[in-house]
Subunit: 142 residues, 2 copies
DNA sequence: ATACGACCTCAAGTAGCTTGAGGTTCAAGC
DNA sequence: GCTTGAACCTCAAGCTACTTGAGGTCGTAT
Protein backbone atom coordinates (compact mmCIF):
# COMPACT_ATOMS: atom_id res chain seq x y z
CA UNK A 1 0.00 0.00 0.00
CA UNK A 2 1.83 3.03 -1.18
CA UNK A 3 -1.10 5.09 -2.45
CA UNK A 4 -1.73 6.47 1.01
CA UNK A 5 -1.14 9.98 -0.31
CA UNK A 6 -3.58 10.95 -3.05
CA UNK A 7 -2.27 13.06 -5.88
CA UNK A 8 -3.33 16.26 -4.13
CA UNK A 9 -1.82 15.36 -0.74
CA UNK A 10 1.84 15.81 0.02
CA UNK A 11 4.35 15.05 2.75
CA UNK A 12 5.93 18.00 4.53
CA UNK A 13 9.10 17.57 2.49
CA UNK A 14 7.27 17.81 -0.82
CA UNK A 15 5.15 20.72 0.42
CA UNK A 16 8.28 22.57 1.49
CA UNK A 17 9.94 21.96 -1.87
CA UNK A 18 6.80 23.09 -3.68
CA UNK A 19 6.85 26.34 -1.71
CA UNK A 20 10.60 26.83 -1.85
CA UNK A 21 11.39 26.69 1.84
CA UNK A 22 12.74 24.25 4.40
CA UNK A 23 10.83 21.61 6.35
CA UNK A 24 11.47 23.22 9.76
CA UNK A 25 10.15 26.50 8.37
CA UNK A 26 6.84 24.83 7.46
CA UNK A 27 6.56 23.37 10.95
CA UNK A 28 7.42 26.77 12.39
CA UNK A 29 4.60 28.44 10.45
CA UNK A 30 2.19 25.87 11.82
CA UNK A 31 3.53 26.37 15.35
CA UNK A 32 2.98 30.13 15.30
CA UNK A 33 -0.47 29.71 13.76
CA UNK A 34 0.34 31.29 10.41
CA UNK A 35 -0.38 28.05 8.57
CA UNK A 36 -3.44 26.06 9.58
CA UNK A 37 -2.93 22.81 11.48
CA UNK A 38 -2.85 19.92 9.03
CA UNK A 39 -4.03 16.30 9.14
CA UNK A 40 -1.71 13.50 10.19
CA UNK A 41 -1.29 9.89 9.12
CA UNK A 42 -1.85 7.21 11.76
CA UNK A 43 1.88 7.30 12.50
CA UNK A 44 1.90 11.05 13.00
CA UNK A 45 3.33 12.32 9.72
CA UNK A 46 1.80 15.55 8.45
CA UNK A 47 -0.29 15.39 5.26
CA UNK A 48 -0.72 18.52 3.16
CA UNK A 49 -3.78 19.13 1.01
CA UNK A 50 -3.45 21.09 -2.21
CA UNK A 51 -5.12 24.15 -0.66
CA UNK A 52 -2.71 24.17 2.28
CA UNK A 53 0.24 24.05 -0.09
CA UNK A 54 -1.23 27.05 -1.93
CA UNK A 55 -1.54 28.87 1.39
CA UNK A 56 2.07 28.04 2.13
CA UNK A 57 3.18 29.34 -1.27
CA UNK A 58 1.32 32.58 -0.65
CA UNK A 59 3.04 32.97 2.70
CA UNK A 60 6.49 32.34 1.19
CA UNK A 61 5.86 34.74 -1.64
CA UNK A 62 4.86 37.48 0.78
CA UNK A 63 7.95 36.77 2.89
CA UNK A 64 10.10 36.96 -0.23
CA UNK A 65 8.50 40.34 -0.78
CA UNK A 66 9.89 41.36 2.58
CA UNK A 67 6.56 41.44 4.36
CA UNK A 68 6.59 40.82 8.11
CA UNK A 69 4.65 37.82 9.38
CA UNK A 70 2.15 40.00 11.20
CA UNK A 71 1.42 41.80 7.91
CA UNK A 72 0.90 38.47 6.16
CA UNK A 73 -1.46 37.52 8.93
CA UNK A 74 -3.39 40.72 8.28
CA UNK A 75 -3.52 39.96 4.57
CA UNK A 76 -4.77 36.43 5.23
CA UNK A 77 -7.32 37.81 7.67
CA UNK A 78 -8.81 40.17 5.08
CA UNK A 79 -8.75 37.35 2.53
CA UNK A 80 -11.10 35.29 4.67
CA UNK A 81 -13.79 37.93 4.55
CA UNK A 82 -14.97 37.98 0.93
CA UNK A 83 -14.67 41.04 -1.27
CA UNK A 84 -12.20 42.81 0.97
CA UNK A 85 -10.25 43.82 -2.06
CA UNK A 86 -9.83 47.39 -0.84
CA UNK A 87 -8.09 46.25 2.31
CA UNK A 88 -5.80 43.87 0.44
CA UNK A 89 -4.91 46.55 -2.09
CA UNK A 90 -4.19 49.00 0.70
CA UNK A 91 -1.83 46.52 2.38
CA UNK A 92 -0.05 45.86 -0.90
CA UNK A 93 0.33 49.54 -1.65
CA UNK A 94 1.58 50.25 1.83
CA UNK A 95 4.21 47.60 1.36
CA UNK A 96 5.16 49.07 -2.01
CA UNK A 97 5.78 52.36 -0.26
CA UNK A 98 8.02 50.66 2.29
CA UNK A 99 9.95 48.97 -0.51
CA UNK A 100 10.46 52.23 -2.38
CA UNK A 101 11.73 53.95 0.77
CA UNK A 102 14.14 51.12 1.45
CA UNK A 103 15.41 51.18 -2.14
CA UNK A 104 16.08 54.92 -1.98
CA UNK A 105 17.92 54.45 1.31
CA UNK A 106 20.12 51.65 -0.04
CA UNK A 107 20.88 53.63 -3.16
CA UNK A 108 22.16 56.57 -1.17
CA UNK A 109 24.29 54.22 0.93
CA UNK A 110 25.73 52.67 -2.20
CA UNK A 111 26.56 56.10 -3.59
CA UNK A 112 28.30 57.07 -0.37
CA UNK A 113 30.35 53.88 -0.41
CA UNK A 114 31.25 54.47 -4.06
CA UNK A 115 32.56 57.93 -3.17
CA UNK A 116 34.60 56.48 -0.34
CA UNK A 117 36.10 53.78 -2.53
CA UNK A 118 36.97 56.30 -5.23
CA UNK A 119 38.61 58.62 -2.72
CA UNK A 120 40.65 55.74 -1.31
CA UNK A 121 41.79 54.70 -4.75
CA UNK A 122 42.80 58.25 -5.61
CA UNK A 123 44.52 59.03 -2.31
CA UNK A 124 46.02 55.74 -1.22
CA UNK A 125 47.69 55.09 -4.58
CA UNK A 126 49.71 51.91 -4.46
CA UNK A 127 47.50 50.48 -1.77
CA UNK A 128 49.62 51.31 1.23
CA UNK A 129 48.88 54.81 2.45
CA UNK A 130 48.88 54.86 6.25
CA UNK A 131 46.38 57.69 6.11
CA UNK A 132 43.75 55.72 4.22
CA UNK A 133 40.64 57.84 3.80
CA UNK A 134 38.17 55.05 4.40
CA UNK A 135 38.23 55.21 8.18
CA UNK A 136 37.87 58.94 8.36
CA UNK A 137 35.11 58.81 5.75
CA UNK A 138 33.26 56.18 7.75
CA UNK A 139 33.52 58.14 10.95
CA UNK A 140 32.04 61.28 9.40
CA UNK A 141 28.35 61.81 9.36
CA UNK A 142 27.28 61.78 5.80
CA UNK B 1 33.33 70.10 41.55
CA UNK B 2 31.43 69.70 38.35
CA UNK B 3 34.34 69.58 35.94
CA UNK B 4 34.81 65.86 36.53
CA UNK B 5 34.26 65.24 32.83
CA UNK B 6 36.78 67.08 30.68
CA UNK B 7 35.55 68.57 27.44
CA UNK B 8 36.63 65.47 25.51
CA UNK B 9 34.99 62.99 27.90
CA UNK B 10 31.34 62.18 27.78
CA UNK B 11 28.72 60.23 29.68
CA UNK B 12 27.12 57.28 27.93
CA UNK B 13 24.02 59.33 27.21
CA UNK B 14 25.97 62.05 25.43
CA UNK B 15 28.09 59.50 23.58
CA UNK B 16 24.96 57.71 22.39
CA UNK B 17 23.41 60.98 21.19
CA UNK B 18 26.63 61.92 19.42
CA UNK B 19 26.58 58.61 17.57
CA UNK B 20 22.84 58.57 16.94
CA UNK B 21 21.93 55.46 18.87
CA UNK B 22 20.44 54.48 22.21
CA UNK B 23 22.22 54.04 25.52
CA UNK B 24 21.50 50.27 25.79
CA UNK B 25 22.94 49.85 22.30
CA UNK B 26 26.24 51.38 23.40
CA UNK B 27 26.35 49.08 26.41
CA UNK B 28 25.52 46.15 24.13
CA UNK B 29 28.43 46.96 21.82
CA UNK B 30 30.74 46.98 24.80
CA UNK B 31 29.30 43.70 26.06
CA UNK B 32 29.92 41.88 22.78
CA UNK B 33 33.41 43.33 22.50
CA UNK B 34 32.75 45.51 19.45
CA UNK B 35 33.48 48.68 21.39
CA UNK B 36 36.46 48.70 23.71
CA UNK B 37 35.84 48.66 27.46
CA UNK B 38 35.78 52.22 28.79
CA UNK B 39 36.90 53.87 32.00
CA UNK B 40 34.52 54.39 34.89
CA UNK B 41 34.06 57.10 37.50
CA UNK B 42 34.47 56.14 41.16
CA UNK B 43 30.73 55.53 41.31
CA UNK B 44 30.76 53.24 38.28
CA UNK B 45 29.46 55.51 35.52
CA UNK B 46 31.10 54.97 32.15
CA UNK B 47 33.28 57.77 30.79
CA UNK B 48 33.83 58.06 27.04
CA UNK B 49 36.96 59.57 25.54
CA UNK B 50 36.77 61.40 22.25
CA UNK B 51 38.46 58.53 20.41
CA UNK B 52 35.94 56.02 21.75
CA UNK B 53 33.08 58.20 20.59
CA UNK B 54 34.68 58.28 17.13
CA UNK B 55 34.91 54.51 17.18
CA UNK B 56 31.23 54.33 18.14
CA UNK B 57 30.31 56.67 15.30
CA UNK B 58 32.21 54.50 12.86
CA UNK B 59 30.36 51.41 14.10
CA UNK B 60 26.98 53.11 13.80
CA UNK B 61 27.74 54.37 10.33
CA UNK B 62 28.73 50.89 9.18
CA UNK B 63 25.56 49.46 10.73
CA UNK B 64 23.52 52.11 8.93
CA UNK B 65 25.23 50.90 5.79
CA UNK B 66 23.76 47.49 6.51
CA UNK B 67 27.03 45.84 7.45
CA UNK B 68 26.88 42.89 9.82
CA UNK B 69 28.67 43.26 13.13
CA UNK B 70 31.18 40.55 12.24
CA UNK B 71 32.06 42.50 9.08
CA UNK B 72 32.54 45.65 11.13
CA UNK B 73 34.80 43.67 13.42
CA UNK B 74 36.82 42.63 10.38
CA UNK B 75 37.05 46.24 9.23
CA UNK B 76 38.20 47.37 12.66
CA UNK B 77 40.70 44.53 12.75
CA UNK B 78 42.33 45.60 9.48
CA UNK B 79 42.26 49.20 10.67
CA UNK B 80 44.50 48.32 13.60
CA UNK B 81 47.24 47.04 11.34
CA UNK B 82 48.56 50.15 9.55
CA UNK B 83 48.42 50.56 5.80
CA UNK B 84 45.91 47.76 5.28
CA UNK B 85 44.09 49.96 2.84
CA UNK B 86 43.71 47.16 0.32
CA UNK B 87 41.84 45.01 2.78
CA UNK B 88 39.56 47.85 3.85
CA UNK B 89 38.83 48.76 0.24
CA UNK B 90 38.06 45.12 -0.56
CA UNK B 91 35.59 44.95 2.34
CA UNK B 92 33.92 48.16 1.23
CA UNK B 93 33.65 47.01 -2.35
CA UNK B 94 32.29 43.64 -1.31
CA UNK B 95 29.62 45.42 0.66
CA UNK B 96 28.83 47.65 -2.31
CA UNK B 97 28.22 44.51 -4.34
CA UNK B 98 25.86 43.17 -1.69
CA UNK B 99 24.00 46.47 -1.65
CA UNK B 100 23.62 46.51 -5.44
CA UNK B 101 22.28 42.94 -5.43
CA UNK B 102 19.80 43.80 -2.72
CA UNK B 103 18.65 46.92 -4.55
CA UNK B 104 18.04 44.95 -7.76
CA UNK B 105 16.08 42.38 -5.79
CA UNK B 106 13.88 44.96 -4.10
CA UNK B 107 13.25 46.73 -7.40
CA UNK B 108 11.95 43.55 -9.00
CA UNK B 109 9.72 42.94 -6.00
CA UNK B 110 8.34 46.46 -6.24
CA UNK B 111 7.62 45.99 -9.93
CA UNK B 112 5.79 42.73 -9.25
CA UNK B 113 3.67 44.40 -6.57
CA UNK B 114 2.92 47.30 -8.90
CA UNK B 115 1.65 44.85 -11.53
CA UNK B 116 -0.52 43.14 -8.93
CA UNK B 117 -1.99 46.41 -7.72
CA UNK B 118 -2.71 47.55 -11.28
CA UNK B 119 -4.41 44.26 -12.11
CA UNK B 120 -6.55 44.49 -9.01
CA UNK B 121 -7.59 48.04 -9.82
CA UNK B 122 -8.48 47.04 -13.38
CA UNK B 123 -10.31 43.83 -12.50
CA UNK B 124 -11.92 44.54 -9.17
CA UNK B 125 -13.47 47.82 -10.31
CA UNK B 126 -15.57 49.33 -7.56
CA UNK B 127 -13.50 47.64 -4.91
CA UNK B 128 -15.73 44.66 -4.23
CA UNK B 129 -14.95 41.87 -6.67
CA UNK B 130 -15.08 38.55 -4.83
CA UNK B 131 -12.50 37.21 -7.27
CA UNK B 132 -9.83 39.76 -6.36
CA UNK B 133 -6.69 39.00 -8.31
CA UNK B 134 -4.28 39.80 -5.48
CA UNK B 135 -4.47 36.45 -3.77
CA UNK B 136 -4.06 34.42 -6.93
CA UNK B 137 -1.21 36.71 -7.99
CA UNK B 138 0.52 36.23 -4.66
CA UNK B 139 0.18 32.46 -4.78
CA UNK B 140 1.78 32.22 -8.20
CA UNK B 141 5.49 31.87 -8.55
CA UNK B 142 6.73 34.99 -10.13
C1' DA C 1 16.98 -7.97 7.28
C1' DT C 2 19.07 -3.95 7.00
C1' DA C 3 20.13 0.27 5.44
C1' DC C 4 18.92 4.97 4.59
C1' DG C 5 16.27 8.92 4.01
C1' DA C 6 12.38 11.39 5.65
C1' DC C 7 9.74 12.19 9.35
C1' DC C 8 8.75 13.28 14.55
C1' DT C 9 9.40 16.36 19.09
C1' DC C 10 11.63 19.39 22.03
C1' DA C 11 15.23 22.60 23.23
C1' DA C 12 18.51 25.86 22.31
C1' DG C 13 21.01 29.01 19.27
C1' DT C 14 21.25 33.05 15.85
C1' DA C 15 21.44 38.56 15.08
C1' DG C 16 21.03 42.89 16.97
C1' DC C 17 19.14 44.86 19.67
C1' DT C 18 14.95 46.48 23.07
C1' DT C 19 12.42 46.34 27.30
C1' DG C 20 11.67 45.72 32.15
C1' DA C 21 12.70 45.32 37.06
C1' DG C 22 14.90 47.11 40.76
C1' DG C 23 18.32 49.93 42.48
C1' DT C 24 22.27 54.09 42.65
C1' DT C 25 24.05 58.69 41.49
C1' DC C 26 24.13 63.31 39.86
C1' DA C 27 22.78 68.20 39.38
C1' DA C 28 19.62 71.60 40.41
C1' DG C 29 16.15 74.11 43.04
C1' DC C 30 14.36 75.51 47.54
C1' DG D 1 20.64 70.32 53.77
C1' DC D 2 16.97 68.10 51.43
C1' DT D 3 14.31 66.63 47.86
C1' DT D 4 13.18 65.82 43.22
C1' DG D 5 13.84 63.91 38.75
C1' DA D 6 16.78 62.63 35.12
C1' DA D 7 20.46 59.69 34.05
C1' DC D 8 23.09 56.02 35.30
C1' DC D 9 23.90 50.93 36.90
C1' DT D 10 23.17 45.48 36.46
C1' DC D 11 20.89 41.50 35.20
C1' DA D 12 17.37 38.99 32.83
C1' DA D 13 14.09 38.26 29.46
C1' DG D 14 11.79 39.37 25.06
C1' DC D 15 11.69 40.29 20.09
C1' DT D 16 11.66 38.35 14.70
C1' DA D 17 12.00 34.61 11.80
C1' DC D 18 13.99 31.15 11.64
C1' DT D 19 18.02 27.42 11.98
C1' DT D 20 20.43 23.74 14.24
C1' DG D 21 21.01 19.76 17.13
C1' DA D 22 19.85 15.74 19.86
C1' DG D 23 17.59 11.64 20.06
C1' DG D 24 14.19 8.75 18.24
C1' DT D 25 10.47 6.60 14.74
C1' DC D 26 8.67 5.48 10.05
C1' DG D 27 8.71 4.09 5.22
C1' DT D 28 10.62 1.87 1.47
C1' DA D 29 14.10 -0.19 -1.44
C1' DT D 30 17.22 -3.92 -1.84
Amino acid sequence: MEAVFLHAELTIGRAARAAGCTVPTVRYYEEIGLLSVVNRTASGHRVYAHSTVEQLKLIRRCRDFGMAIKDINALIAVSTSPAECDAALALINEHRGNLRDRIAELKSLERALAVMAARCEATCVGGAAPCCTIYSDLAESG
